[in-house]
Amino acid sequence: MVKINVLQHAPSSHLPARPGDPTPTSRNLDPLMHPFARARERTRALNAAKMERMFAKPFVASLEGHVDAVETMARKPDTLDIVASGSWDGGLILHDVSRRKRLFQVDNAHKGKVSGVCFGQQGRLLSCGVDRNIKLWDTEASLDDDDFGAGPSQRKPVSIFPGKFAFNSIDHHRYDPLFATASNLVQVWDETKSAAISNLTLPTSTETVTAIRFNLAEASVLASIGSDRSFTLYDIRTGKAERRIIMQMRSNALSWSPTFPTSVLLASEDHNLYTFDIRSLNTPTQIYKAHVAAVMSCDWSPTGLEFVSGGWDRTVRIWKEGRGSAPEVYHTKRMQRVMSTLFTGDSRFVLSGSDDGNVRVWKAHASDKLGIITARERAAIEYRESLKSRWKADSEVSKISRTRHLPKPVHKASQLKRTMLEAQRVKEERRRKHTRAGEHKPKAERKKVVITEHS
């Protein structure tokens, strides 16, 4: 007796039951049914990498209004997109980034440049300048009348705090009505008192303090950087300098990490950025190398996973925390030296203020799509992301996602820099080889950064 069964597919299980129904699909995960799975996936990864570069259009908008270099910018706490900027011409503007409007504008807030802005309590704005004054502005009043060109340019500040020296930087305490300023000395002020309540400085130092920031977790801790290549930590409760390091080169800007309380980022004159953990200040936790000129400004993303830096080389770079090379780089033909950079509160956009007087808005991720994204689109984007990360070791995929077009001067400068560093390294190596063994030990790059540490 023969048992016979011939394969047949029931059309009812493979065709839609009614017109308009979705067609049923069937799956067979046997690898024999999917030949060239890896090669096809690689092609897809390659396409994903190419698409990312094709859609990389990071520039969003340019906010005009200043007539000279934008020296400083500050984000209003508890908002996503309200940003104040101060310029070399003494102008002060409050931008609404999402609507690209000026909420508040003072043309001659200070004589000479505005060197620092920060937000105080109840939406009030503090600005300091080289004219030895700190001014407190009330911006809320003008928020009601919604005229684009901003109101009369002769606004009066709420109060003026006169100082003895030109100010370089200002930062407000997170909870209390206190603020600190940097000039030849570090001073702490009360919003209600017209004179500084205390001077925090080392007795022996004759430096000029260039920037100052309160810690975000422990609001009484204050960090400053100075022109004598120092980085100093103060506690305003004790009124003393607690720690201090002297580095190889001076820093231009600093920023506290919003998520990790002891991590601080320094933008240095030697083209690098450094993150320090203040629990051990003798070495940086990471060196970030890519700029080809001094780094002028830096700011953390609110997520603490990224930060942005702007440099004298006319580029803005966005770094991943802990990854010391190959940052995202933004540039345009007309953007000059970048003096200030800022992340917005939703960490989707980056602002850069440059020598040409514009505040530019960039996407934090160059190929992000703005606007509403459907679920299918989101799924496709996520699939492409995972493909790229899975095939990142493939030479072609990595080459496409790594390569950035740089302006010729920047490219040439980086070439030159590489050559010089290589020559230095070779020379060092040769010198070591021709001295007695053990006499001339190579020094790790991290250990070269800090010269001395006082505590």
């Binding site: 011939v6 995960l29 030949p35 090669a39």
Partner: protein, 611 residues
């Protein structure tokens, strides 16, 4: 400041920081390790921040996951290990997913040894088959010479071509004709392109491409007198071989002729593709079978298969292209293992010679010789067997219309279609078709929209012709370990490219080291036999003699002397290591021979530095 540090310690203690610097400054891990349990902040936080158990890194990786312990870069090693663990887990999940395959495969079984499946005729099978399945038993009586047949990838559409130019394509399940053409010239082969919307015909002089309705779209003038056609669906390549013996690859998505290879083996009438690596197998008049890829100007494999012209070649799709069957005009059928070409696995004589063969999706081999078609099934044809005897027969079917020119199994069906001189006939062979199709690859029931969608998707996923190699897993696999190593004590210090020139030469074994003076030190003291040393001495003298020849020897001597003065820490380290090993060996030898006492353990050993 202290409260700030306490806050940071609760998130990530300083000792957990990435290992960067000052190894001596940090406390060494050991019994005296300070725990953070006494820190009240950390204890209060840790309750709320624990990962779920399934996501914790301690969940054990599967045993089959690779460890990659030879990779030095820790980050990369962790990544690779995680990836392989992921792969192993997903492989297990695939096994579970087999439960979801719902369709039932065909089969033909007999009870007892006396009954044979090959005694069962087509009438009996057709009677036992369901109504839908019985459609596959067909006889199309057609004029116009021996016919050749080809199915689309999903098995829904069939194209036939007669020797004298009768071409027809139709949906055999629905019974609708797409195109019928009388080309009035010799046609030798036909193939569908990406789906049934285009097909290519090898005509008397050129290859022509027609669309579904039979409208001539292209005349491919570069393919002259083609005899056989193949289409590589994942690379979008149309491959033809002709009477002149040129193998040509044409990209049908861009229209470019990718490459043409001169086989130098004369006219070729036999071609098939390996569906798992897209390698083209050609059978030649002198009995050789050659395997071709677009990026090699010569065959990747050349194999003398038969003592006469090769009549037919086919590759087994059920074993990922591991087996190849060839039939020759000398009357033999041979099955080969594509990983090891040393002789055929199994050989048998097919009566009548000049057989046509084809493998099915499930690995059944059909052989058409003389006036009948025989089908053999899997384990018997692939197990090595020395005697020249045909494997046990599964099914046989006589076809009275000689010659039988073409055999094709229909994908996803139990149907074998035979092209012969009086037309085309289809027979039912239970159990040879894959029952479960995958809609993303080939779907017999797909509608117009799905077909269009799939066409666009497959164009986006088109693989470049260069990627065709014998091993399809080559893409995405790890590079082999480098042959040159500058390792000292298992640590890679300086990469090869950054070594100075002399070091590089030394590592690659091309350095001139005759007068370095360290020869005796660095050479291994083990092989201290007299004759060996004499040989070495002789070779040394010889080399020295050679060295004296040529110009500029003062400069060379000067350079050699300079080289000797350089104290290279690497060389010093190697020398010290060798010295130490030699000392240990000498000690061990002395202890073995009894000349020395083994060292007794002492109480002071605990203070000894382990190095």
């Amino acid at each position: 400041m202290d409260s700030l540090i306490a806050k940071a310690d609760a998130i990530r203690p300083l000792s957990k920081r990435r290992r960067t610097d000052n190894q001596h400054a940090r406390p060494k891990p050991g019994p005296s390790k300070k725990t953070t349990a006494d820190d009240p902040t950390a204890a209060s936080v840790s309750q709320h921040t624990a990962l779920p158990r399934s996501l914790r890194p301690s969940s054990p990786p599967p045993e089959e996951a690779k460890k990659y312990s030879h990779i030095h870069n820790k980050k990369l090693r962790t990544d690779l290990a995680r990836q392989s663990a992921q792969n192993a887990r997903s492989k297990r999940l695939v096994k579970d997913a087999e439960l979801l395959l719902t369709e039932e495969a065909g089969l033909m079984e007999v009870d007892g040894d006396l009954e044979k499946t090959w005694r069962v005729g087509q009438d009996e099978i057709a009677a036992a088959a369901g109504q839908q399945a019985a459609q596959g038993r067909q006889e199309w009586k057609l004029d116009g010479g021996p016919y050749r047949v080809r199915y689309t990838k999903n098995g829904r559409h069939i194209a036939i071509v007669g020797k004298t130019g009768h071409v027809a394509t139709f949906d055999w399940q629905a019974g609708t004709m797409h195109a019928e053409l009388q080309l009035r010239e010799t046609c030798r082969d036909i193939t569908f392109l990406q789906d049934h919307s285009h097909f290519a015909v090898a005509q008397n002089k050129y290859v022509f491409i027609y669309d579904r309705d039979g409208v001539e779209l292209h005349k491919l003038k570069s393919h002259i007198e083609p005899t056989r056609l193949e289409f590589l669906p994942y690379h979008w390549l149309l491959v033809s071989v002709g009477n002149a013996g040129y193998l040509k690859y044409q990209d049908t998505s861009t229209g470019q002729l990718v490459v043409e290879h001169r086989t130098k083996l004369g006219a070729c009438h036999t071609m098939c593709q390996n569906p798992h690596n897209a390698v083209i197998h050609l059978g030649h008049q002198n009995g050789t079978v050659t395997l071709w890829t677009p990026n090699l100007p010569h065959p990747a494999v050349r194999l003398l298969a038969h003592l006469g012209p090769v009549a037919s070649v086919s590759v087994d799709p059920s074993s990922a292209g591991r087996y190849m069957a060839t039939a020759g005009q000398d009357g033999t059928v041979k099955v080969w293992d594509c990983r090891n070409w040393k002789g055929a696995i199994r050989t048998w004589n097919a009566r009548g010679g000049n057989a046509v063969i084809d493998w099915s999706q499930k690995g059944a081999l059909s052989v058409a010789t003389g006036g009948s078609v025989n089908v053999y099934t899997k384990p018997a044809i692939q197990t090595p067997f020395a005697p020249v005897v045909a494997p046990p027969l599964y099914l046989t079917h006589p076809v009275p219309h000689r010659p039988l020119s073409s055999l094709r199994f229909c994908p996803f069906q139990d149907i074998l279609t035979i092209g012969h001189s009086k037309g085309v006939s289809g027979i039912l062979v239970p159990g040879v078709g894959e029952p479960n199709f995958d809609s993303s690859e080939a779907d017999p029931f797909e509608n117009k929209k799905a077909r269009r969608e799939r066409e666009v998707k497959s164009l986006l996923d088109k693989i470049q012709p260069d990627a065709i190699v014998l091993d399809p897993d080559f893409i995405g696999s790890l590079a082999p370990p480098p042959k040159l190593s500058t390792a000292v004590d298992g640590q890679h210090d300086i990469p090869y490219a950054r070594l100075p020139r002399h070091e590089r030469l030394k590592v690659s074994g091309k350095a001139d080291e005759t007068e370095d003076g360290d020869e005796d030190d660095t050479s291994d003291g083990q092989g201290g036999e007299g004759d060996g040393q004499a040989r070495k001495g002789a070779s040394k003298a010889e080399k020295e003699k050679k060295k004296m020849r040529g110009k500029n020897k003062t400069l060379k001597r000067f350079l050699r002397k300079q080289r000797k003065n350089v104290i290279d820490p690497r060389a010093v380290a190697v020398r010290a290591k060798l010295e130490k090993e030699r000392e240990e060996r000498r000690k061990a030898k002395a202890i073995a021979s009894g000349a020395e006492q083994p060292r007794k353990p002492s109480a002071l050993d605990r203070f000894k530095r382990s190095s």
